[in-house]
């Protein structure tokens, strides 16, 4: 596991090409590290620091400042449910609660099999399609528990297929 992996080479190269100096690329590279490790791991920070010619402390500082970088290990599917007021009015609170019960996790927790992390987030700007959530930064909208269960099964199947 490393962002030195060949599959990222092109993206990294393209990222550096966009900026006048190396350290400007730190945020896109942190996303790549998060994608690779599932979170911004110490190894990821070290690798990004090397790429961007920065001290690892500075890279960690950036990862700590922005909330979309996770400095805790996350499940393969990172489910962020919006339960701000408009969503709550459309039953997001209840949906969030049921989802946690269904997956048997605490707020911010990860399922024992390392598949799903559930947490609530502030407005994702999709109030009209609530209840909704963001899975690994992609929207899943107009949800109810039935749809959600089917979606979860689909993700499980996808992960299984990937493993094979």
């Amino acid at each position: 596991m490393s962002i030195h992996d060949e599959k990222y080479a092109k993206r990294i190269e393209a990222t550096f090409a966009k900026y006048p100096d190396k350290r400007s690329a730190v945020m896109p590279l942190l996303y790549i590290a998060q994608e690779e490790y599932g979170w911004v791991s110490p190894e990821g920070i070290e690798e990004v620091a090397q790429y961007c010619d920065m001290d690892p402390t500075q890279v960690k500082s950036i990862a700590g400042f922005y909330t979309m970088y996770s400095e805790q290990p996350k499940g393969k599917y990172w489910l962020q449910v919006c339960n701000d007021l408009p969503c709550a009015l459309r039953g997001a609170d209840e949906f969030h609660k049921q989802l946690k019960e269904y997956l048997n996790v605490e707020e911010g927790g990860t399922t024992a099999d390392g598949m799903f992390t559930v947490e609530h987030v502030m407005c994702l700007a999709a109030c009209d399609k609530a209840p909704m959530l963001q899975c690994n930064f992609h929207f899943v909208e107009n949800l109810d528990m039935e749809k959600m269960k089917a979606q979860i099964e689909q993700w499980r199947a996808e992960a299984k297929a990937e493993k094979k």
Binding site: D55, Q58, K60, S61, G64, F65
Partner: protein, 830 residues
């Protein structure tokens, strides 16, 4: 920050008009006028950020008619002031003509009170157990501006970790931190090691380090001085004493040629049997030398002065003796030897000691005065074309250049590295030329390389190169040499070529131009002025005298080849701090006092004579070396021993022309310095005001227009490395196992295990892997066992072997040897 004082503007503070330097920072300008605007995050040595809001003032400007540009007058005929609608941070404001400031209004008072109250909501108020208590900006400003009462419910206070080690040396108390970012900015802007940063945000904001080892910087201690609260404390002083119990004695750091001005904080200590001992070492302001910074070696390396290995009583033939008896034995031996006597003196001895030793030898008819360690030649060239009188590295900037050659300055003289890095940030060209990759490359604007043995040639030929032309064209040029990988002869040739280049390009005899060298010890220039030379040391080794006086020189630990000739010396008289191997060999071993127990002077690498004062109580029967030498002289009928170090110095000023004007009184002279680091610790931090003297810089021959004599440059042949052999390059690392550092136990985790760097190509050829135990064999020395570090820093064919890490001595200068893997399979350290 050096402001241009030639141009001034008029500003109005609290309705009084003042002339201040144009463009000056408002806090600095007000400070100079005696108006203390309180600050937490602002520091005069760093860029302003306006984070703490403590410096809020009412700010306005004189209104001018837009059409005519004329000043608008109010009803009373006074210029009309246009005020900012809200208070402004003074620290982010530079003065401009007509600026109007109010610092004493109700609104400003209210703002200050509110800011303090706000900061205190998250502060634990644990002053009674805080190391900073008594010299704490937050404490002082709370007393001065704070509300006196809190509206905060104590139960609601956030409680955080109070014991976060940022490394082995610095602890963070997360509760006390007010998030001013002074430490972060210091590491980034001043130290150049940006290993501190903020993590998270809002109430979760904390200082972190992610370096390996934690807080990896040679300047980490300075962050505790500028921390405006007790959030950062040192492992050395933590819970050690209260600041108000301390007596602060001006001193000079004895560790390297920078000659940082320090303040030794002492206290009568129960643990030391009621004697006064050093509790901490703090920087003392000298803007020309170290500003308000010191490195961690200087700050934490003071423990040797009361180490368990100090020699406490005189010894004759390895048996304790009274001082009178020991001195008599020494005198008798010297008398019997006639003029067949020599002295080897260490590079961290004071001028007074050196002078007394010289008098003793001269009185016996000997001129054989050796300097130890004999690694750097060319101090005479620094005396001729050294940096001109008035040189200040802080003055270097755009259009200026510094060439650092054959030196790993970071390891040899850290504070010079810090200041030169700042010069580079101000726009100066900093060229680092070395035969290997060093930490310094990171701080260079460009680098140049040559092969080992080629340094003198590189310097001699520089004129014709593009680099040479660029350096020659600089407004100001300083060449800073080291002796990395050089033999003594090569180091002289390098210095000569550097001197020639400076003379040819006119970069001599004026401030901020000339030659500097990272000599060993704190008084290598003093050795030169007193007539001690490294060449004489080699001569002593060639033709050993009957009686050899060895003063404050760890010959056996420094040089594996001393055994060859030391046995030929009939009598060794050792003047020593430590009960070391040499003291065991000596016929007479006399304990001498360290820099902390007596007064004296050092000459730093910029030829500044600086005075240090008596700080702690004597150790055993140790006496100052000048007194030891003087008393032996008295027994030999050379006249009475001087009564004080000051009297010895008076003698020196009369006899050594360079020291004219360097009497103790003159050395103690102080002048106001900018920034004004005084008792209000919130402005500059807890660095000490200089009350002990700024010292006197010895002019160079070039400064005085004297005839210069660089001498014929003898560029030696590059040593032939035979088949199967490698060049062994001894180098200097800052944290090592020298006796003068070994007693500082808190530094032990930071001292590297013995290692040698080799190139990966060589490693492959010799079948050596990273982490393997290897043996380095050098003719005439016992084998040295170290771990191999296979990296890209060592050039091909060379073994980079740091001195004073392994138990066995490493050669003083570059030599030839072989390296091989030790038989059994080695374990790679994790």
């Amino acid at each position: 920050m050096v402001t241009n004082i030639t141009k001034t503007v008029t500003i109005y503070i609290d309705d009084v008009s003042y002339q201040v330097p144009a463009g000056a920072n408002l806090v600095d300008a007000a400070k100079a006028l005696g108006n203390d605007i309180p600050v937490f995050c602002y520091h005069p040595k760093m860029s302003p950020v306006g984070m703490c809001r403590m410096c809020l003032v009412e700010l306005g400007s004189i209104e001018k008619d837009r059409a005519t540009g004329e000043v608008v007058l109010d009803d009373k005929g006074q210029p009309k002031v246009r005020w900012f609608p809200k208070l402004q941070t003074a620290c982010t404001t530079n003065v401009s003509d007509g600026m109007t400031v109010r610092t004493n209004t109700k609104q400003v008072d209210q703002a200050r009170e509110n800011v303090v109250e706000f900061l205190l909501t998250s502060h634990p108020l644990d002053c009674p157990v805080c190391d900073k208590g008594g010299e704490c900006p937050l404490q002082n400003l709370t007393m001065e501006h704070g509300p006196g009462k809190t509206r905060m419910n104590f139960a609601d206070k956030m409680h955080l970790d109070k014991h976060v080690p940022l490394g082995d040396l610095i602890f963070l108390d997360e509760e006390r931190c007010i998030q001013c970012a002074r430490c972060i900015r210091f590491q980034d802007e001043v130290a150049g090691d940006d290993v501190l940063a903020f993590h998270e945000r809002g109430r979760s904001l904390q200082i972190i380090t992610n370096s390996e080892p934690g807080f990896d910087s040679y300047f980490s201690g300075n962050t505790t001085d500028i921390c405006p609260v007790g959030a950062l404390t040192t492992a050395d002083f933590r819970f050690g004493a209260r600041p108000w119990e301390l007596t602060n004695v001006p001193s000079i750091c004895p560790q390297c040629p920078v000659g940082c001005n320090t303040s030794l904080s002492t206290r009568l200590d129960r643990d030391a049997g009621g004697r006064a001992i050093i509790k901490r070492v703090m920087p003392r302001q000298n803007e020309q030398v170290n500003e308000i910074w010191i490195c961690d070696k200087g700050r934490f390396g003071h423990h040797f002065s009361r180490g368990a290995d100090r020699l406490q009583i005189p010894m004759t033939g390895n048996a304790p003796a009274s001082l009178t008896r020991a001195l008599q034995v020494a005198a008798d031996k010297l008398k019997a030897a006639g003029s067949d006597v020599a002295v080897i003196a260490g590079s961290s001895m004071s001028n007074e000691d050196l002078w007394a030793l010289k008098q003793l030898a001269n009185g016996l008819g000997s001129e054989r005065l050796g300097a130890w360690p004999p690694t750097h030649a060319g101090a005479d060239l620094v005396a001729q074309v050294g940096v001109g009188k008035g040189t200040n590295l802080s003055a270097l900037g755009k259009g200026d250049a510094v060439l650092i050659i054959a030196s790993d300055l970071e390891e040899e003289a850290p504070v010079w590295r810090l200041r030169i890095n700042q010069a580079r940030k101000r726009g100066a060209i900093v060229v680092v030329a070395n035969a290997r990759k060093t930490q310094m490359d990171e701080f260079a604007s460009e680098t140049a390389t040559f092969e080992y043995g080629e340094a003198p040639k590189f310097m001699a030929d520089i004129e014709a190169s593009d680099l040479g032309k660029k350096l020659a064209a600089a407004n100001n040029l300083i060449i800073l040499t080291g002796a990395d990988g050089l033999t003594l002869v090569e180091s002289r040739a390098l210095m000569q070529s550097a001197a020639n280049f400076l003379i040819k390009t006119g970069h001599i005899g004026k401030a901020n131009n000339g030659l500097m060298s990272a000599f060993p010890g704190s008084n290598a220039m003093g050795l030169y002025y007193m007539g001690f030379t490294p060449e004489a040391t080699l001569d002593i080794a060639q033709k050993p005298p009957k009686v050899l006086i060895v003063a404050q020189s760890d010959l056996i630990a420094d040089d594996p080849s001393v055994g060859e000739w030391l046995t030929k010396v009939e009598t060794i008289i050792s003047l020593t701090l430590f009960n070391d191997a040499l003291a065991g060999l000596a016929t007479v071993a006399l304990p001498i006092q360290s820099f902390a127990e007596r007064d004296g002077t050092f000459v730093n690498g910029e030829r500044r004579v600086q005075r240090f004062y008596t700080a702690q109580g004597p150790i055993g029967e140790a006496t100052p070396a000048w007194q030891v030498a003087g008393r032996i002289g008295e027994l030999l009928g050379q006249g009475k021993v001087k009564l004080s170090a000051a009297a010895v110095m008076l003698d020196i000023t009369k006899s050594v022309p360079a020291f004219e004007g360097a009497r103790y009184k003159e050395l103690a002279h102080v002048e106001p310095q900018f920034p004004m680091i005084q008792k209000d610790v919130y402005y500059g931090g807890t660095a000490y005001e200089n009350t002990g003297g700024l010292g006197v810089q010895i002019p160079t021959a070039a400064d005085q227009g004297e005839t210069l004599n660089v001498g014929e440059v003898f560029v030696p042949e590059t040593p032939k490395v035979g088949k199967g052999k490698m060049l062994i390059i001894p180098t200097q690392v800052l944290y090592n196992r020298e006796r003068t550092f070994q007693s500082s136990e808190l530094m032990h985790p930071r001292v590297a295990d013995p290692y040698a760097e080799i190139n990966s190509a060589d490693a492959k050829r010799l079948n050596i892997n990273n982490g393997d135990m290897v043996e380095i064999a050098i003719a005439g020395a016992s084998a040295i066992r170290v771990r191999a570090q296979v990296d890209g820093r060592a050039p091909k064919g060379a073994v980079i072997l740091p001195r004073h890490l392994a138990t066995n001595a490493v050669p003083l200068t570059a030599t030839v040897g072989s390296i091989s893997k030790v038989g059994q399979a080695a374990v790679v350290e994790g």
